[in-house]
């Protein structure tokens, strides 16, 4: 499948010869034929890429609608259509998909909100205040993202075991415990994104509000945050997606089947018996992916803006 793209590449280089002097001596008509050929090549690349990108997703949607009960029977795309797998998905107490889904939503939303809040507070102080240690703080935040929490998963496991002895509500096998661990990563690249965006909000707005008697907290909550809604959405979404995808820490901290997240639950479900569980897993995958994909495309404009702002800066 990879070869499609490479074929297209070689076509294109053939059409665009490197020795430009000879190209220049050619007559005008060949110039226009060259661009037409180039355009055809671009269509070929675009179509090939789209097919490769969409194929696995079409496949899983098709498998989820195919009632033939195994991985083997899911080969023909959309050969059979039925909602049986979706009904089975919510029907088995051994694999409480509904609970996993709700757990993931709760953990994802709370973590995203916490990340926006903690990161926003820090970004505000970096953007609007000048203090010793500011540069050091910014550098630290930039470097911290190089060391993801999963590197310290053993220490986190032992730490949460210890915390659980004092506060059982925060210990192993609790959602609150998992969320506070995730919030440990709240100051990171997200803060940096927000910092960059806050810097683009003119300080004259702050000054005007100050003259009207607004305090720093009021300026932050009612002016800066409101004017930065797009970047807050991006950071919230990136954090949400990150949490939904997080596997290592969730798998180590959550052991009770009904407390698991989608990533851990679905993986263990499918690794028990890959072939037999495949159609039901496919249905679960479609439902699990739906909110993330919808959110992503709803906020796509902002995400692309946020990513490129970080890149071009």
């Amino acid at each position: 499948m990879h070869t499609d793209t490479q074929l297209a590449t070689s076509n294109l280089t053939a059409v665009n010869p490197r020795n430009h002097p000879s190209a220049r001596t050619r007559a005008q008509p060949s110039q226009s034929r060259r661009t037409t050929l180039g355009l055809v090549g671009k269509y070929a690349v675009a179509i090939a890429t789209s097919l490769i990108a969409i194929f696995p997703i079409l496949y899983i949607v098709s498998a989820s609608l195919n009632p033939n009960g195994s991985l083997a029977g899911s080969a023909g795309l959309f050969s059979q259509l039925s909602l049986e797998n979706y009904l089975d998905l919510f029907d088995d107490p051994a694999q409480p998909f509904g609970a996993w889904f709700v757990n993931t939503l709760i953990i994802g939303i709370v973590t995203a909100a916490g990340t926006v809040m903690l990161g926003g507070l820090a970004a505000y102080s970096f953007s609007r205040m000048r203090f010793t240690g500011r540069r050091f703080g910014l550098l630290t935040i930039l470097l911290v993202q190089m060391f993801p929490q999963l590197l310290a998963v053993i220490a986190i496991f032992l730490l949460m075991k210890g915390i659980g002895d004092i506060f059982p509500a925060l210990g192993l096998n609790t959602h609150a415990g998992l969320i506070v661990v995730y919030l440990g990563g709240a100051l990171g690249v997200n803060t940096y994104l927000m910092y960059g965006f806050f810097n683009t909000v003119p300080t004259s707005i702050d000054e005007a509000a100050k003259l009207d008697g607004a305090g720093h907290a009021r300026i932050f909550f009612t002016i800066i945050l409101r004017l930065s809604a797009p970047v807050l959405a991006v950071v919230g979404l990136l954090s949400f997606i990150g949490t939904v995808n997080e596997f290592v820490i969730a798998s180590v901290l959550l052991t009770d089947p009904s407390k698991k997240t989608l990533a851990v639950g679905l993986y263990q479900f499918i690794s028990q018996e890959t072939s037999a569980n495949w159609p039901v897993f496919a249905a679960g995958a479609v439902i699990a992916a739906l909110p993330v994909v919808l959110l992503f495309f709803a906020l796509q404009k902002y995400i692309v803006g946020g990513l490129t702002a970080g890149a071009v800066k």
Partner: protein
Amino acid sequence: MTTATTPEADSTAVQPPRPNRRRAFSAATPSIRATMIKIVSLGLLDALAFYAAFVLTFNSEWVLAGGVVVTAVVINVIYLKRGWLPAKYLIPGTIFLLIFQVYAIVYSGYVAFTNYGDGHIGSKESAIEALIDKSLVRVPESPAYGLVIVERLGQLSFLVTDPEGEALLGSDEQPLRPVADAEFAGDRAIAVDGYTTLDFSEMIADQTRIAAMSVPLTDDPNDGALRTPDGSQAFVYAATMQYDENADTFVDIATGTVYEDTGEGAFVGPDGTELMPGWKIDVGLQNFIDAFTEESIRQPLLAVMIWTFVFAGFSVAATFAVGVFLAVMLNDERLKFRRTFRVLAILPYAFPVFLSAIIWSGMLNPEYGIINQVLFGGADIPWLTDPMLAKVSILTVSLWLGYPYMFLVATGALQSIPHEYVEAARVDGASPWAIFRHVKLPLLMVSMAPLLIASFAFNFNNFNLIYLLTRGGPQDITTDMNVGATDILITLVYKVAFGETGGRDFGLASAFSIIIFVMVAIISVVSFRRTKALEELN
């Protein structure tokens, strides 16, 4: 922690009519509500801190208790004192960062210098107790003690009547002692003041706990203990392993073998057998030395390291190449449905990664997967089970997952390249390839270099892709270690620490994470230096 030269302090200087701006700040309109929120949150925090400090003190964890108190005091001071504004905003995120990231990494560093893991969890004292407990066997022909189980505050105890008819009470922690005020039914003690006697159904409910109890006869655990097979009679069990406190050795009474503490966190016999459980000790650099000298670890570790670099390097290079190529191709306004193509092209980025990895593992399944069944007409290509092909599969899926990100970023960066540059090159007669190679690509690199480094660091630890697609497999059968052909360092850490096969070895796994940590640190410092990305910070 910080000296504040804040903007509002500056404005105080420019505005003499208002003597204290900061006061005006906190006294602004919602002041009562804000103050209430502040007081309530600080109160809640203090209550939690007080409780934590109390429990920690109760458990004799003095250092931690002190830490909690000091942290709570610092937080209170920062929020109640005027000024120190940056600290007020930085504290919440920093606390989480310090506990769950910085402390966790430092603690990993500590664990890497211990033998922490299965069989080496607790202290030496608890290991000795556990060893004696484990070696208990019923003394042949020993008399039966009449028994009832009594309970107080959730704690179970034995109330026994010894062969002489005297009532004795004891629990796991408390050796047997005579009780004077026991209530008898016939010659059997059946109740004692302050304790509730369990009835039959309660005993059934608690039977696993009761079966696990062993009540020492005296203060010396070597004297043996009472255990019960059925909850109505207790028998004397004696340890077959005697602990000699003066010599610090264990002696197997049946064989006479002496087990010594040789400083390796366990009692070791003359033939090298270790008594388990052992205990946790500091082993210094032993884990690191093992990792690089012991053949059974070094060989696989080296292979895993090389593959980690190949995987991360290839992933970055391939996704960058494909992403930039697509961005150039689709950046043509004459292309119809350009928007649709773009949305389709970034679809893999919108789809949750953990699901993509599992879906690909199903698609690449050699027997039933759609790739073999449909695309290769029923072939039997071992995509995930052949060491070489599994690596190819991983790299391909990694490219599928990663190119949309590069495509998005490169599209943005391409569009921000001033049109005049391209135009000028074209006027000079440069071919499209030359324009790309000598004008666009260098400009792209300027903005994308930091992202390439970040992407490398990300892929270096791309646990999800590897573990969910192949589990690191196929398994390498030439070594005892639980390691496979596609394992990268981080999946190896996970397997060594939490793997289902073999004992969990937190110490060795932490040593591996420290190795990753050092590698990533070196790579990022060196490459950030070169891109000068950090110099833009002011």
